[in-house]
């Protein structure tokens, strides 16, 4: 009888151990994504989400992160701050995510930042950083500093053209406003004058008044700051007005650049990210990293622009590097480890994070390019 009891206890213990092991094996690392899948940020944030899905699939096929499979929890914030707060808090409270790798809706990320900070969860962002220092502590941006886009265009005008008067046309988004301020302040460093600064709304259907005003002020180039179809509308307006003005677009999707290039030809130039000019890149670490991501992306998405998706890939790869360095999945330890990651090669450039630098790209990764026959050509 005693033997039977001992055997039954041993069996129970073995079963419990097996159950625990199975539970540990099933443990996942949860990544929360608050993205504007609908609303004004949909084009960029859908690409961000799709890039993350490719990255997660790749990581899981390699066995996950330190033995844990990665699970993506994506919520649509509708590009609205209130909705962003709701979905962030759902992912904190109900889904219990370990980290956020969220999209480009700055206001949404800012609105949710106090709650994320309180929960001590790191945020890897496609947007700019929240303004409060205690919130910046938990946030890391994968967006290039706004001055790089401005400097790339000014440097081209200074070195390759005689144009010294530039009109600035920008949308009211936070990132565009930062670029506009830098464009006005740094123009003199390149021997350039900005006689006209005009703001537009993303749904404006005609830019002829702003372009005419810039032309009348002697501006021979328009620095367009802002995403979306408005770039094509500006290109069409320049052509309709018969102006010989150069249009210098900011970083955007190739789906926007192609028709704008067809409309204006060599008059249209734009800031291109490394992933958009992969074939023209010299051999090296950057090309190698993009080459790791691009085939996976193209297998799923064909010719779709890889830029924003590549940024999402970078965000996950930095997260993995931080977890491996911290040897922990805990939020505070991962946060501390991200601050030690420097010289990390991503598809969007080299990331150098530190306790004082939470916007990882510190060297200008951009090129100035134009469209020739539907293909991107570096100038």
């Amino acid at each position: 009888m005693k033997t039977v009891r001992v055997l039954s206890i041993a069996t129970s213990l073995a079963a419990a151990a097996a159950f625990t092991t199975a539970a540990q094996a099933q443990e996942v690392y949860k990544i929360g994504v608050s993205a504007g899948l609908t609303g004004y940020a949909a084009a960029v944030d859908r690409a961000w989400r799709d890039g993350l899905e490719v990255a997660v699939e790749y990581v899981n096929s390699k066995g996950g992160i330190m033995g844990r499979k990665v699970q993506l929890i994506v919520e649509d914030n509708k590009s609205e701050p209130q909705e962003a707060v709701t979905v962030y808090r759902k992912m904190i409270g109900s889904d219990k995510v370990d980290i956020f790798i969220s999209g480009c809706v700055s206001a949404g990320n800012f609105a949710a930042a106090p709650f994320v900070t309180r929960a001590q969860i790191p945020m890897m962002l496609c947007s700019i950083l929240p303004p409060q220092p205690d919130q910046v502590k938990w946030a890391f941006s994968f967006l290039a500093p706004p001055r790089f886009e401005v400097e790339t265009r000014y440097a081209y005008l200074k070195d390759k053209t005689q144009i010294r008067k530039v009109g600035v046309l920008h949308d009211p988004s936070p990132y565009a406003n930062l670029q506009k301020d830098i464009a006005v302040k740094s123009a003199a460093n390149f021997g350039i004058e900005v006689p006209v600064v005009e703001q537009y709304k993303t749904d404006d259907a005609d830019f002829s008044p702003q372009l005419s005003k810039m032309n009348a002020a002697g501006a021979k180039a328009v620095m367009k700051i802002g995403l979306g179809g408005s770039t094509l509308t500006v290109a069409k307006n320049i052509k309709q007005l018969g102006q010989d003005t150069l249009l210098l677009g900011s970083v955007d999707d190739l789906a926007v650049f192609k028709p704008a290039g067809e409309t204006l030809g060599p008059q249209f130039l734009f800031v291109a990210a490394p992933a958009q000019i992969y074939d023209a890149l010299p051999d090296g670490a950057l090309k190698q990293e993009i080459g790791r991501f691009l085939p996976l992306w193209r297998a799923k998405q064909g010719d779709r622009d890889p830029f924003w998706a590549g940024k999402a890939w970078d965000a996950l790869m930095v997260t993995i590097a931080a977890i491996e360095r911290a040897k922990s999945f805990e939020g505070p330890k991962v946060r501390d480890a991200v601050e030690t990651i420097s010289a990390f090669q991503g598809t969007g450039g080299v990331y150098n994070f530190s306790p004082t630098v939470h916007q990882g790209i510190t060297e200008n990764p951009f090129f100035l390019a134009t469209m020739v026959g539907g293909k991107v050509q570096v100038k």
């Binding site: 701050p81 409270g93 609105a111 106090p114 303004p131 009211p172």
Partner: protein, 334 residues
């Protein structure tokens, strides 16, 4: 209030009449107990309940149309945000200044626009909402434009701040109760009867001695104060404000809540705010089809409860079998 002799309420009707309000209160109580992200949803629902209660006074009682209530929410919200985050004011005085500012704006704007009627009034109020939205975007030195204002402190008095989720929800529940009670008092006051009279017919109300322009303006100002309060509550609960918070979607949401909950009723704004906040959450698992199913649910609600959920009980009222007497029974009030 005695039952009118023309209709008799059934027990089921009575049950249905109070069921939505009881369920709404039950859901808020559940949120307080359960915690989690349900608290966030309940909190937003209560803030919107304040906003819609004000809208209900102007639209439900006074029978006017306003598509610009988001303007007053923005005035209250930004006044609270700027005064507390930028100038270090305590939240309560900032909230009061915001409400006073919204009331003043309502007087200045309402005086000329409320001479309009119907669609013209609706268009004029729509313009007010759009203008204030543009001001919040363009006046960057004060509002920070789309960058928004962060670091807004939670509500509190002195060094005591309402910081925990549950405490905030309890505080919001008290505010909503006070707002609904004040709406009930307004509805049953001389002022309330006057604005209800002008909603039926402005000419008839005027013939009865109601100063139509004055009462319309007063209803507009009162609803603006409610909207301002909702705006202030929002920024103190979330701690951040940007122009998108008070965009056109706020107006659309407010209208939907008002009609789904029950326009002209006391509990309708609360019921509508809770249902409209929770419905999308119920369908969140449907991902891309979430909005589709949400829209279908709203259409069904409006088809089967055209007077709103708070007036469901009226659907089960039946006509009396005896003919209506030609003269009112003794003791009945007109």
């Amino acid at each position: 209030m005695p039952t009118l002799p023309t209709t008799i309420s059934t027990n089921a009707g009575l049950l249905l009449r109070y069921l939505p309000a009881v369920l709404a209160v039950g859901l808020i109580a559940y949120a307080i107990v359960a915690g989690g992200h349900f608290v966030t949803l309940a909190g937003f629902a209560l803030i919107y309940a304040v906003f819609v209660t004000g809208l209900n006074i102007f639209m439900g009682y006074a029978g006017q149309a306003s598509f610009g209530q988001n303007a007053f929410a923005a005035i209250g919200g930004y006044a609270s945000a700027v005064l507390t985050a930028t100038y270090g004011w305590p939240p309560i005085p900032a909230l009061i200044v915001g409400a006073a500012g919204a009331a003043l704006c309502a007087v200045v704007i309402g005086y000329p626009t409320l001479r309009l009627r119907g669609h013209y009034l609706a268009m004029a109020t729509l313009a007010i909402g759009l203008i204030v939205y543009e001001v919040t975007v363009q006046w960057q030195s004060v509002t920070q434009g789309y960058m928004g204002i962060s670091g807004i402190p939670p509500l509190g008095i002195g060094s005591w701040e309402v910081t925990s989720d549950r405490a905030q929800l309890i505080m919001l529940s008290i505010v909503v109760t006070l707002c609904m009670a004040s709406a009930w008092l307004i509805r049953n006051s001389r002022f309330g009867r006057a604005i209800v009279a002008l909603s039926g017919s402005e000419d008839a109300a005027r013939a009865l001695g109601v100063d139509v322009a004055r009462y319309k303006l007063a209803a507009f100002v009162v609803s603006a104060v409610y909207a301002s309060l909702a705006g202030s509550l929002f920024v103190h609960i979330v701690g951040f404000v940007s122009p998108e918070v008070f965009g056109m979607h706020m107006v659309i949401l407010g209208f939907t809540m008002l009609y789904v909950g029950g326009i002209g009723t006391i509990t309708g704004p609360l019921v509508g705010a809770i249902v409209i906040n929770l419905l999308p959450e119920t369908f969140r698992g449907l991902k891309d089809y979430q909005d589709l199913v949400y829209g279908a649910a709203l259409i069904l609600l409006l088809i089967y409860a055209p007077g709103g959920l708070a007036s469901l009980g009226n659907a089960l009222k039946r006509r009396p079998s005896t003919p209506i007497p030609a003269t009112a029974p003794k003791g009945a009030r007109p």
